[in-house]
């Protein structure tokens, strides 16, 4: 019996040895690698089923006083406008109580389509010391061309939050400046430091589904695949809005939004 008692010690010792220094794996293997999200297959747009979105952006409230631009700082600019009055476009209201220069775009719902930017560039002209157009859209990756039709030097200074910033001088007669935008951003304000009244806005979008309202407040977005979308409406001074819209196959969705005086 005494022998057995001794023997009993052995497994205990082995056990102790094993416990005292058992290696602990310190790996945290539980959280898996952020496996690259499976690349979502982009669908081509079927041109046979596309419809369109049309609408009007109305304005409610007291029409702000048009503000005239004084270009005395650069006599060339004054001369270019033949000394005729020029007004700030931000805050402008059409005579039919609608808003011009509203950037209307598909904010959500078009991400699953394969949109390739057109080969023709979006052109921004500097004419009479004003930007033409005042509000424009451009697709990610699309050529963006800036020309100077004025006999004075301008500088084009976009102030994006999410895209690369730049600020380039463009003397009269200089070749066009061509750039592209890599990331969607609504909106990129552009200014000219030499003519501080000059201002335009660029809406950079992934799809070509955008439009800018005209002097009757209407807009049309064509080539919209059937489906439900969130439309975004951007204005320079009256804020932004959103609206849901459903486009039937080959059909037209109509939208009306109203901005209130700020």
């Amino acid at each position: 019996m005494r022998k057995l008692k001794w023997l009993a010690v052995i497994p205990v010792m082995i056990g102790l040895a094993a416990c005292s220094s058992s290696p602990k794996a310190s790996s945290e293997s539980s959280s898996a690698a952020p496996a690259a999200a499976p690349q979502q297959q982009l669908k081509p747009v079927d041109p046979a089923t596309v419809g369109e979105i049309t609408g009007v952006v109305k304005f409610d409230g007291a029409v702000p006083h048009p503000r005239m631009i004084r270009m005395g700082q650069d006599p060339v600019c004054q001369k270019a406008n033949h000394d005729k009055p020029v007004y700030f476009q931000d805050g402008e209201v059409n005579s039919n109580h609608t808003l011009p220069y509203v950037f209307v775009y598909v904010k959500k719902g078009a991400g699953q389509y394969d949109w390739t930017p057109p080969s023709e560039p979006v052109v921004l002209d500097q004419k009479g010391c004003m930007y033409e157009p005042h509000v424009m859209g451009v697709m990610v990756g699309q050529q963006f061309k800036v020309i100077n039709s004025d006999p004075t030097t301008h500088n084009i200074h976009p102030m994006p939050a999410d895209n690369r910033a730049w600020n380039e001088s463009q003397p009269p007669g200089a070749p066009p400046i061509t750039k592209t935008w890599a990331r969607p951003e609504v909106m990129v304000p552009v200014k000219c430091n030499e003519h501080p009244w000059m201002r335009c806005y660029i809406g950079v979008t992934k799809s070509p589904l955008y439009a800018v309202t005209g002097d009757d407040g209407t807009f049309t977005i064509q080539g919209v695949p059937p489906g439900t979308y969130t439309l975004g409406f951007w204005t320079a001074t009256f804020g932004t809005q959103e609206q849901q819209v459903t486009v039937p196959p080959k059909g037209t969705a109509k939208v009306t939004v109203t901005f209130k005086a700020s």
């Binding site: 022998k3 220094s21 602990k24 293997s29 539980s30 005395g72 030097t153 463009q170 501080p196």
Partner: protein
């Protein structure tokens, strides 16, 4: 029954059982030892084995990926073009090269054929010449020479290989043999050179193709990866350690963290989700802290020598003083060596903690080496003055002695030596005298730089609403949830007593009466002058403005209007100067007694030989406002209140002398003078524990009191660590008094700062890192030269909140940038300048002047000296020359500029060049004068850039050149456009239509402009203005009525001009 023989006690006793037990025990112990050897005490063995597998897997995957990528690049048309060109060139050169190669082959064969015989014969001749040289007998010499001559004439016959596999027999005497051999070598080198030249175009093209591949391949190339894979295969499983004997570092961390130094970045995902095997996440840090010298534990702590278990190696044992820093406290590891820095790169949490320690006023009660610099420096300087004076007295005696010795010297030579010694002592005394003057000045200057966290409480009678004081003291956070003033654990009656004392001993004087101002104008000034870089109005979501200074949402409830005007007009003004020598403020009566007018200030800072503190010890600067503007702003601020100041209950007890006496004791107990100037407490000691080495205080010395058990068992969010103690203490400073019986004066009295969790974490990190240095001095970061200048500069930048307005590094945000009106496209242009390259931009001497007087004028002070057009104004900080010197050096060092600055001479323009530069400047295509101020008020209203006249004194010509060429590279986002000039044949030329005057200019046009700017005079500028004439001037009708609006949100209206009026 036969009787059994009784067993023989020797023969029959068996020890087999015991032997078996012993054998089994031995076997077990052996097994145990084996187990520990392989697994138990060597956990790193299994880790390394697993790492090898994972790493090989990862590398193979990478190789496949990189190979695919490489192939994609190799198939790109650009690469193919390069590769094809290389191949074509190679092919073109090939026939010629082959020809040369065959020639070389023949030469090589000939060389082999000739080599043996050549060597033998050459050695024979050489050894015989040696014998001749050492032979003394002339006859013998002659004999030997004759023999040698005969030998040289002997003919060797060699079978010489020839082109086309043929051979030819040649017969050479010794000379011919030598020539043939040398010729062979010469011919070969010539052929090799020719071959190299022929191959050069092809190999250049190949290099280009390879470079293209390398430039376009992201990540390591396949060959490198294969090398790593081979290395991994060869890797043996063994202990790995960094050993630095001098520093006592033995870190075996790499034995388990085996991927840590791999040359490619390994993430958790790469290594099969195993965090243990990642490479060091910040390789930049390792570049400046070579692990071979630093190891791991100096930064991470832990117990690097013990690789036997995770717990032991990480130092998570009570007996180990340096447990591994946790992820949230990681930056603590920087502090030990970087104790002298205010800002440490790569350590944002530590930086926050270091800043909070100063800004929150921790240092008011707790000493910490590195902080509290100016009082320390004052003491050191005063000591130095005393010892220098002693030295000077000693020297004076020695001069007399030496001169006397000279007078009585025996020889002229001795006398001359004695006189010379006396003279040199006199020179050294003069130096000492000048040094004493300098130090005395330094003491005054150091007093200029002394600042306190809280306001001066000597002036509360003039400053504050009396009734508000006890309400505030009782619960500052209830009045202002953002205040830096903490809530004290007062006992009932304490507030009354302290209020009474403060009121009794405050100065009985009032600020001069002020007429009311215009609060509407005041609000606009407040929003635009830069006040909001430090001060906010509103709380939480409604808050707008900075956090550095007090929140002003309810300032109208506490402040007296007259005092507020005075404060805004110049916050450094005091009611009475403080005299350290006398230990009290000087009153008008003191001045009267001395027969002096009661005048003190920066130019009157001594009284009867004593240095005075003539400034308020606040960091708030002087914005150089007119008195009218100060009245306007004060009138606006006084409207900021939630309730009427008179609605506070009266506090008659504040005039009770008995209470005041009690209050004085309490004030001492709570350490109020750590942050405030209080009469009678100017030299009070700090009341808290010194924290310089708090992080290495043994854990047992931290009084966990009744939470000890919780801590040891890890319950309720407690842990038995320093970090846990600090965190709980900072969150609730009285927590360790819970459940304790404490009489008044015994209780814990650290106030509650209502710190946010991230602030608690930052301070904890800082405290954990505050350790007694373990490592040799050369490992501490105590740099000299530019690195020291940067180190010292940050203290000043942080002290005055320069970052409230200026960006010093890209990505840093300023308080002003967060304000909505500075985020509009026009508002951005109204932000104070970014100082990314200030040291390279401005002349340091100019900068010193500007920092001392940002108006750059003694008369026209209510404006900024450089950017006269900005509504925000660079204030006057009354920096002492000591701080100015540090700041200037900081900027120079940040921009890698050598000190001292010696301006590069700018070559004057010839009259021709002057005319051309002028023409370029006023050309309608050149936009310079559209934005830059020119000193014509009508034009400067629209200016958005400084006057060129400043350039000569202010700027460095090299910077100006780079700036004009491409400003976006120096200051991304600047209003100054790029592309004004373009490169053409190595010269910079104007991008627009060039004025006729420059049509034939063949030089660098940027150079022309730089030189022009550096010789621009006011007269020349006048001339420019006249030349550009109408181009600059707004129509005259508008100029007189135009008033540049001061608010940035109204800036766009400025461009509308008077048209608003014409409506």
């Amino acid at each position: 029954m036969p009787e059994l023989p009784s067993p023989d006690p020797v023969q029959h006793r068996s020890l087999a059982g015991w032997y078996m037990i012993a054998a089994l025990l031995l076997l077990t112990v052996f097994a145990w030892a084996l187990f520990d050897e392989v697994i138990g005490l060597r956990p790193w063995k299994s880790y390394q084995a697993r790492f090898k597998v994972e790493y090989a897997k990862y590398l193979r995957k990478q190789i496949t990926q990189q190979r695919a990528q490489q192939q994609k690049i190799e198939n790109s048309p650009e690469y193919l073009a390069l590769a094809q060109k290389a191949a074509a060139l190679k092919k073109q050169a090939q026939p010629e090269i082959e020809k040369i190669n065959s020639q070389i082959a023949v030469l090589n064969a000939q060389f082999d054929a000739i080599l043996h015989i050549h060597t033998t014969r050459q050695q024979y001749v050489a050894s015989n010449i040696y014998i001749v040289e050492y032979t003394k007998s002339a006859k013998r010499k002659k004999e030997l020479l004759t023999k040698l001559a005969r030998y040289e004439k002997q003919i060797s016959t060699i079978r010489m290989p020839e082109a086309g596999g043929k051979t030819r027999l040649v017969h050479y005497n010794y000379r011919q043999l030598m020539d043939a051999f040398n010729q062979n070598s010469d011919q070969k080198s010539a052929l090799y050179e020719k071959e190299g030249n022929l191959m050069a175009p092809a190999s250049d093209a190949e290099k280009k193709a390879k470079a293209y591949l390398a430039d376009h391949l992201t990540g390591p190339n396949v060959t490198a990866l294969q090398g790593l894979l081979a290395g991994n295969r060869r890797m043996s499983i063994r202990i790995r350690q960094f050993y630095n004997g001098k520093a006592g570092i033995v870190d075996r961390c790499e034995s388990c963290h085996i991927g840590i130094l791999q040359p490619i970045k390994l993430t958790k995902a790469d290594m099969g989700g195993n965090l243990l095997f990642i490479s060091h996440p910040d390789m930049e840090l390792l570049k400046i802290h070579d692990p071979v010298i630093f190891g791991c534990s100096p930064c991470h702590a832990g117990n690097g020598m013990y690789a036997e278990s995770v717990k032991a190696a990480h130092g998570f044992r009570e007996d180990w003083t340096w447990p591994l820093f946790s992820k949230s406290d990681l930056d603590a590891g920087c502090q030990e060596c970087h104790a002298k820095d205010m800002v440490v790169d790569h350590a944002p949490v530590l930086n926050e903690g270091k800043f909070l320690f100063e800004w929150r006023g921790c240092e008011g009660c707790h000493a910490h080496a590195g902080y509290d610099q100016s009082p320390g420096e004052i003491r050191t300087t005063q000591r130095e003055i005393t010892s220098l004076e002693k030295q000077r007295n000693q020297d004076a005696l020695d001069v007399q002695r030496s001169n006397h010795l000279g007078d009585i010297a025996a020889t002229n030579a001795e006398a001359q030596a004695d006189y010379l010694h006396a003279q040199s002592l006199q020179v050294s005394m003069s130096k000492i005298s000048m040094r004493i003057d300098h130090d005395t000045q330094d003491v005054h200057w150091l007093m200029m730089d002394e600042k306190m966290v809280g306001p001066d409480l000597k002036e509360i009678r003039a400053e504050l609403n009396k009734r508000w004081i006890p309400v505030w003291l009782h619960n500052p956070h209830a009045f202002d949830p953002t205040t830096r003033m903490p809530n004290f654990p007062f006992r009932p009656g304490d507030v009354k007593a302290i209020s009474a004392f403060l009121w009794r001993d405050a100065i009985h004087m009032q600020a001069p009466q002020q007429p009311p101002g215009d609060p509407v104008k005041g609000k606009q000034l407040f929003r635009t002058r830069g006040c909001m870089a430090c001060h906010a109005v509103g709380y939480g979501k409604n808050a707008a403005g900075g956090w550095f200074g007090p929140n002003l949402t309810r300032v109208g409830e506490k402040m007296n209007y007259d005092y507020l005007v005075r404060w805004i007009h110049n916050p450094r003004q005091r009611l009475e100067p403080y005299c350290p020598a006398l230990g009290r403020d000087l009153t008008p009566a003191d001045y009267q007694k001395a027969g002096l007018p009661f005048v003190f200030g920066l130019h009157h800072d001594t009284f009867e030989g004593h240095a005075l503190q003539v400034e308020q010890e606040t960091v708030m600067p002087n914005l150089r406002l007119t008195l009218k503007s100060a009245q306007d702003i004060a009138s606006y601020l006084i409207t900021l209140k939630e309730k009427d100041p008179s609605s506070y209950s009266p506090a008659p007890y504040m005039s009770d002398p008995k209470l005041a006496a009690k209050g004085k004791k309490l004030l001492q107990f709570y350490g109020c003078s750590g942050c405030h100037e209080i009469a009678g407490f100017e030299n009070a000691q700090k009341i808290g524990t010194e924290l310089t080495a708090e992080g290495s205080k043994p854990l047992e010395l931290f009084a966990f009191s009744r939470f000890l058990e919780d801590a040891e068992r890890g319950r309720d969010g407690w842990a038995f660590t320093r970090a846990s103690w600090f965190e709980h203490k900072l969150k609730d400073p009285e927590i360790f008094d819970q459940g304790m019986i404490r009489t008044a004066g015994e209780q814990l009295h650290m106030p509650n700062f209502h710190l946010k969790p991230e602030e608690i974490n930052a301070l904890t990190t800082f405290l954990l890192g505050s350790q007694t240095p373990r490592f040799p001095k050369n490992m501490m970061y105590d740099p000299s030269g530019p690195a020291k200048d940067i180190q010292q500069g940050w203290w000043i930048i942080k002290k005055y909140n320069c970052e409230g307005c200026h960006q010093f590094t890209l990505g840093q945000s300023t308080a002003l940038m967060t304000l909505p009106w500075f985020q509009t496209p026009n508002g951005k242009g109204d932000l104070p300048p970014r100082l990314l390259t200030e040291g390279a931009r401005v002349n340091p001497n100019w900068l010193a002047n500007f920092l001392a007087n940002p108006a750059l004028s003694d008369t026209d002070v209510h404006r900024d000296g450089v950017r006269t057009y900005l509504p925000v104004r660079m204030p006057t900080f009354y920096l002492s020359p000591i701080e100015i010197r540090k700041l200037v050096r900081f900027f120079e060092a940040m921009s890698h500029q050598p000190m001292p600055y010696i301006p590069r001479p700018v070559k004057p323009l010839t009259p021709d060049q002057l005319a051309m530069a002028r023409a370029l400047f006023v050309s309608p295509a050149a936009p310079c004068l559209k934005c830059h101020a020119i000193g014509v008020p009508a034009h400067d209203k629209f200016a958005t850039a400084p006057n060129f006249l400043l350039a000569r004194k202010r700027l460095k010509p090299d910077w100006v050149r780079h700036w004009i060429m491409n400003p976006a590279l120096i200051d991304p986002g600047t209003a100054m456009p790029s592309g004004l000039f373009k490169e053409q044949d190595g010269l910079e030329v104007f991008s627009g239509p060039v004025p006729p005057a420059l049509a034939h200019y063949k030089g660098d046009e940027v150079n022309l402009i730089v030189r022009y700017l550096f010789e621009l005079t006011p007269e020349e500028q006048q001339r420019l203005i006249q030349m550009s004439g109408k181009m600059l001037m707004p129509a005259p009708a508008t100029t007189s009525q135009l008033e540049r609006p001061q608010s940035p949100d109204a800036r766009s209206a400025a461009y509308v001009g008077t048209l608003v009026a014409s409506h």
